[in-house]
């Protein structure tokens, strides 16, 4: 006699459990690093303490044509065709003249306050602006989020699978847990840790469901688009030419051929008059000095409710505007708006700082949901000494409250590498992070669940409080305090709040446990004298 068929709900519950084990461990790394990456720009300022420089266009006597001439006048003609002016927020003005065929050229760094030349490089483009070793910390966070520290296409494929796994985990979890309004209002029961983990998983998982759906869908799209989707779509819609797809999306305008060469300053003034309070970020001269000459100006308007980017292309002969670029494509379109929305929803930039903060808190909550799911699985195992249970317990501890310890060890490795120069900082931060994860995993394997979680929470809390010290060490010690901007100090305060909060949570859990133990023992019998 064959066994009765398993109901659809039971099947989806099992799927939720299996996928959840993978998403709860690997996905926790992607989610946690993505949560930190929301504030990547602020973390970069915190880890690389350089004075913020003013916009170059505010410098007295700023003249784009004069800067252009000063860079290219002594160069061979092939280097005149391809020139870039770049000034990131608070950075130097960098001008590059490059021969795209040989990959060599000249780069000149200007002080944006005085417009004096600071440095001039000649040679291969890869040697123009070597990466600051202090950037390795934030680069690692982004690499972990996008590639899970796995090189190349395999890394993208892995994070894409994690995104799809999170998506089906959400759908199957919704069916399996059947959230009701009553469940959504119920506080997690504190009687037993297993009940608390389960209730927390359902409660927070339900409230963060829309956010998680958005993140999983957009994240899977971003990871899969370049390695899987682009070749497939190119084959069906562009006769197998991936460049045709990219051209359709970017839609670079080509001006009608003409003689002469336009001045850059009138273009800049026109672009600024169209976008008040915008700052110049980039000027790209392409095919300059040829019949197809064009200049593309990128400006950015900064606001606490969100930065706006404006891209305008001008004819290189008459200086007439060819296109005020939409986000994608040649003209505003439904597809362009959809992709812009996907971008804003994934990175939390929809409404600027408010949505970034909301995304950050929701991201942390989602990490908690994934960890709580793993902890439910571990606490349901009948034999706590079985190998599978111990390994899962190690994973659960390492990818939940153990993660901050790994972050701090990675940061410590980065700071020591920046100070001593003994190892490349990129290697040091990677080794420190994964050593921290492994250490927390061993704690989870060797200790029982409750003491392991408590110990890891206290260790994480104390470790997080040391984060400002590591940033100071990487930036030359106490003198870096004087270079701290307001944003940098806010990041320091955030680390302390997180650290003290974790210690306070652990203390509260210990007090609750002691109180419960005292209740179970009951009142001491009165001594008979």
């Amino acid at each position: 006699m064959s066994p009765p068929p398993v109901s659809p709900r039971k099947r989806l519950y099992l799927l939720h459990r299996w996928i959840g084990l993978v998403v709860g461990s690997l996905g926790a790394l992607v989610l946690f690093s993505g949560t930190l990456a929301i504030f990547a720009a602020e973390l970069r300022e915190w880890s690389v303490r350089e004075p913020l420089r003013p916009p170059a266009i505010d410098a007295p006597g700023f003249d784009l044509d004069r800067i252009h001439r000063s860079v290219v006048e002594d160069l061979d003609p092939p280097l005149h065709h391809h020139v870039d002016f770049v000034q990131d927020a608070g950075g130097l003005l960098q001008v590059t003249a490059l021969n795209p065929e040989t990959g060599t050229g000249v780069a000149v760094d200007f002080d944006p306050a005085t417009l004096e030349t600071i440095e001039r490089h000649e040679g291969p483009a890869s040697e123009f602006h070597p990466a600051d070793p202090r950037d390795a910390l934030v680069d690692f966070v982004i690499d972990l989020h996008v590639f899970l520290s796995i090189p190349g296409a395999l890394g993208l494929l892995t994070t894409g699978m994690v995104g799809l796994g999170l998506l089906i985990s959400l759908v199957s979890g919704f069916v399996a847990h059947s959230p009701t309004w009553a469940k959504m209002k119920r506080a997690p029961r504190t009687r037993r840790s297993r009940l608390w983990f389960g209730d927390w998983h359902t409660l927070v998982g339900t409230w963060t469901l829309p956010f998680a759906l958005v993140l999983a869908t957009t994240g899977a799209f971003f990871s899969m688009s370049s390695i899987v989707l682009r070749p497939a779509i190119s084959m069906s819609a562009f006769h197998g030419d991936p460049n045709a797809l990219v051209q359709a999306l970017i839609a670079t305008p080509v001006p009608p051929p003409g003689p002469g060469q336009a001045s850059l300053d009138p273009m800049l003034r026109d672009a600024l008059s169209r976008n008040e309070r915008a700052q110049l970020r980039r000027v790209q001269l392409r095919d300059w000095g040829t019949p197809e000459a064009r200049a593309t100006l990128t400006l950015e308007t900064e606001h606490w409710t969100g930065d706006t980017r404006h891209v305008l292309t001008y004819d290189g002969h008459e200086g007439q505007i060819l296109r005020d670029h939409p986000y994608l494509g040649s003209t505003p379109s439904f597809g362009g708006r959809v992709l812009h929305l996907v971008d804003e929803l994934h990175f939390g930039t929809l409404l600027g700082l408010p949505t970034k903060l909301l995304w950050f808190l929701s991201g942390l909550a989602l990490c908690g949901v994934a960890s709580a799911g793993l902890l439910v699985f571990v606490s349901r195992q009948r034999d706590p000494s079985a190998l599978v249970t111990r390994v899962m317990r190690g994973l659960a501890v390492a990818t939940s409250v153990g993660l901050p310890v790994a972050v701090v060890l990675g940061t410590a490795g980065w700071a020591l590498a920046c100070t001593t120069g003994a190892w490349p900082p990129a290697t040091a931060v990677r080794v420190g992070f994964f050593a921290g994860l492994a250490f927390m995993g061993v704690v989870g394997i060797r200790w029982a669940l409750r003491p392991a979680l408590l110990g890891a929470t206290i260790a994480s809390g104390i470790a997080l409080c040391t984060m400002p010290l590591w940033a100071l060490l990487a930036n030359g010690g106490p003198s870096a305090v004087m270079r701290a901007e307001t944003g940098t100090m806010l990041v320091d305060v955030a680390w302390w709040i997180a650290g003290l909060g974790m210690v306070a949570c652990a203390g509260r859990a210990m007090a609750r446990r002691r109180a419960r133990a005292a209740t179970h023992r009951g009142p001491r019998p009165a001594s008979s004298t």
């Binding site: 989806l12 799927l15 759908v171 497939a232 819609a237 505003p332």
Partner: protein, 91 residues
């Protein structure tokens, strides 16, 4: 013991085959969706919808009460889109 193993095998096959089905469907959809003013809508919309198409196929083929019917429907949808791709590539 054999039941969970059999279900796990079914889950793996549903998830992986759904990936292939979703890839065919989004590629085929570029052939009939309107291109829009910028000539990119027919490309962008299927690209963005890919994860949702995949999760719909995976949930339907694994969680349906009548799984045989679910597979038939999913395969039929995929075949129609494969025909669209063949038409687009040959024209």
């Amino acid at each position: 013991m054999s039941r969970p193993r059999s279900l796990a095998r079914q889950a793996v096959s549903c998830l992986t085959v759904s990936l292939l089905f979703a890839l065919v469907v989004v590629s085929g959809a570029t052939q009939y969706l309107p291109p829009g003013a910028a000539n990119i809508d027919h490309v962008v919309v299927p690209l963005v919808a890919f994860p949702l198409v995949w999760v719909a196929f995976a949930t339907y083929t694994f969680g349906a009460r009548d799984r045989r019917r679910a597979w038939l429907v999913a395969t039929a949808i995929t075949m129609v889109h494969a025909a669209f791709i063949a038409h687009g590539v040959s024209s």
